[in-house]
């Protein structure tokens, strides 16, 4: 269920963190709910290949 941006300013955000883990950890330490994604570069790190694969899907 998407939470439009303006409503977001009224509630308590729940975060999904991908990339630098510390970004999520500091939100977690501040008492906010954070879900970390287990991420690795798609297509073995080849951005162009990842784009081509995206186009196929």
């Amino acid at each position: 269920m998407p939470i439009p941006f303006e409503q977001l300013l009224q509630g308590r955000p729940v975060f999904v963190n991908v990339g630098v883990r510390g970004f999520g950890d500091s939100l977690d330490e501040a008492g906010f709910e954070v879900i970390h994604l287990d991420w690795s570069p798609p297509a073995g790190g080849d951005a162009r290949m990842a784009e081509l694969l995206d186009d196929l899907l």
Partner: protein, 519 residues
């Protein structure tokens, strides 16, 4: 001494984890230097410049991890034999924890209340992840840089279509309902809403507002290019609108580096229709305030105006005593040797470098910078200081392949020691930025280099004036008071804000210039 690289195929770790892993390896006996990097093209170049080579490194790609090791043969061999031992701590869920979702789709399925994606993957993949997050109905905080302008615009248009926002790319800081996202300080909630294209500017603003007893309702980061014509200010406008409708926001502060004239005009026109009082701080640009828009030349002024608009008193520290400052500047300038006539500014915060230039320009003083404000001169090689100059050490050139100077002080420390060797240097201006994601001890990281500068000046029979500001609050993990005290005890002159530290330096430099004229 031997040098070797160890490649691990398809292993992703974030840059901060890798910096810490490299630090742990470097601290081992017999290891002279260690880097842990993803084998992006830029990082492979960095390693080549450091003297690493070989077919295996040349064949590695951006999804592969490289450990580059230099030291005594036995020590290097020991690390190379068991690299996993250095890569297994601190990154990933704890033992026994449930497996983490691998996509936004999985995350939203598991926890439908998810509302904000915080994305800091390498730039080449950032737009892809941001798009995936938007399609799952998530608002996006996009820290990653190196996203094309075309991708930025299309992401922001898609977000607008869906009633969402993209804060970024290249967005350092935001505050949503009391959550500081990215590089953010521990500030209380209050009546002032911020919209900003400048992360360190928002940190300085929110910290000063907190120190004055006020606080931040929400702070919307937009990314550094949002106001550029090619992007069209989509997130800035969305942020203004949201704060206008936010009952917790009484006054809206807009902070940005000066955009192109047409974008400035559009922004001023939009703000002119705002139902709430607005403070506009376009660092380095002169804009006339009209109607409900109050304009500020510095972040301090913006905070003072916002406090007044919210019905509070500006704190004493936002109203410096110019006369006392001038007298102290004259006294200090009088203690310098005749050959000392240059200032060097070494900044971790890009916006603070910019603001410091604006403070100097106001008095007609011209200097060099690697990101010069209109009227200032370009520093031809940012790695080499020339005359009086301000260097933003967070510029792309310096962060290629290594973490930002707010996290890793190594480069700034080395540069500081170099400045100490230059007998023409009179003043060095520094900024220290506290808060989440920043170094746990930004001042402590540079105390050795500060001592080195002072020793070098002393050996020449004089002193170099070190002037600094600390951006942060008493509630930050590093502690504003503790960090300030450490600077004062080291003999650094600390002012309550970057604008005031720059103004103090400017007064000293004006006295030095007068001294030259009298001579």
């Amino acid at each position: 001494m031997v040098r070797t690289t160890v490649i691990r195929k398809n292993r992703y770790f974030d840059s901060v984890f890798l910096m810490l892993a490299a630090r742990r390896i470097k601290a081992q006996p017999g290891i002279a230097d260690a880097s842990a990097l993803l084998a992006t093209a830029a990082n492979r170049e960095v390693l080549a410049a450091m003297g690493y080579g070989g077919a295996e490194l040349a064949g590695a790609g951006p999804g592969d991890l490289v450990l580059a090791l230099e030291g005594e043969e036995a020590a290097v061999a020991a690390i190379a034999a068991d690299p996993e031992a250095w890569l297994s701590r601190g990154s990933g869920p704890g033992p026994g924890a449930a497996p983490e979702p691998r996509s936004f789709t999985e995350a939203v399925a598991a926890r439908p209340a998810c509302s904000v994606a915080v994305i800091s993957v390498p730039g080449a993949f950032a737009a892809r992840e941001a798009r995936a997050a938007l399609r799952e109905g998530l608002n996006v905080f996009l820290f990653s840089s190196n996203v094309s302008v075309a991708d930025e615009r299309s992401l922001k248009l898609e977000a607008r279509e869906r009633g969402l926002i993209v804060m970024g790319p290249d967005c350092g800081t935001a505050f949503l309902c009391g959550a500081g996202i990215g590089f953010a300080n521990a500030v209380r909630r209050g009546p002032i809403g911020m919209v900003g294209s400048t992360g360190t500017g928002m940190q300085e603003f929110s910290s000063l507002a907190h120190q004055a007893g006020s606080g931040i309702s929400n702070g919307i980061g937009t990314g550094s290019r949002d106001l550029a014509d090619a992007v069209g200010g989509i997130s800035t406008m969305a942020g203004i609108e949201a704060l206008e409708n936010d009952p917790g926001t009484q006054v809206i502060a807009v902070l940005a580096k000066p955009p192109e004239p047409a974008a400035t005009a559009r922004l001023v026109a939009r703000l002119g229709r705002c139902r709430k009082p607005v403070v506009l701080c376009l660092l380095g640009a002169e804009v006339q305030g009209t109607g409900r828009i109050r304009t500020a030349a510095t972040i301090d002024e913006a905070v003072a105006l916002a406090l007044v608009a919210a019905g509070a008193e500006p704190s004493a520290q936002l109203r410096p005593d110019d006369r006392a400052m001038g007298e102290q500047a004259a006294l200090l300038a009088g203690q310098l040797r005749p050959e000392q006539r240059h200032i060097r500014g070494l900044f971790a915060g890009g916006t603070l470098c910019y603001q410091s230039q604006a403070v100097f320009r106001k008095a007609g003083l011209v200097l060099r910078a690697n990101s010069p404000l209109r009227g200032m001169l370009e520093l031809p090689d940012p790695r080499v200081s020339r005359g009086s100059c301000f260097v933003d050490l967070g510029a792309e050139l310096f962060v290629e392949g290594r973490p930002h100077p707010m996290i890793d002080a190594t480069l700034r420390g080395q540069r500081l020691e170099q400045e100490g060797q230059d007998p023409t240097v009179a003043v060095i201006l520094l900024d220290f930025i506290l808060g989440a994601m920043a170094s746990r001890d930004p001042v402590g990281d540079l105390l050795g280099a500060i001592g080195g500068v002072q020793d070098a000046a002393r050996r020449r029979g004089g002193r170099i004036l070190l002037v600094a500001s600390v951006t942060g609050t008493g509630d930050d993990a590093q502690g504003l008071q503790a960090q300030t005290r450490a600077l004062v005890e080291a003999g650094v002159l600390v002012l309550p804000s970057n604008a005031q530290a720059a103004a103090f330096c400017r007064e000293i430099m004006l006295r030095i210039a007068q001294r030259k004229e009298v001579d």
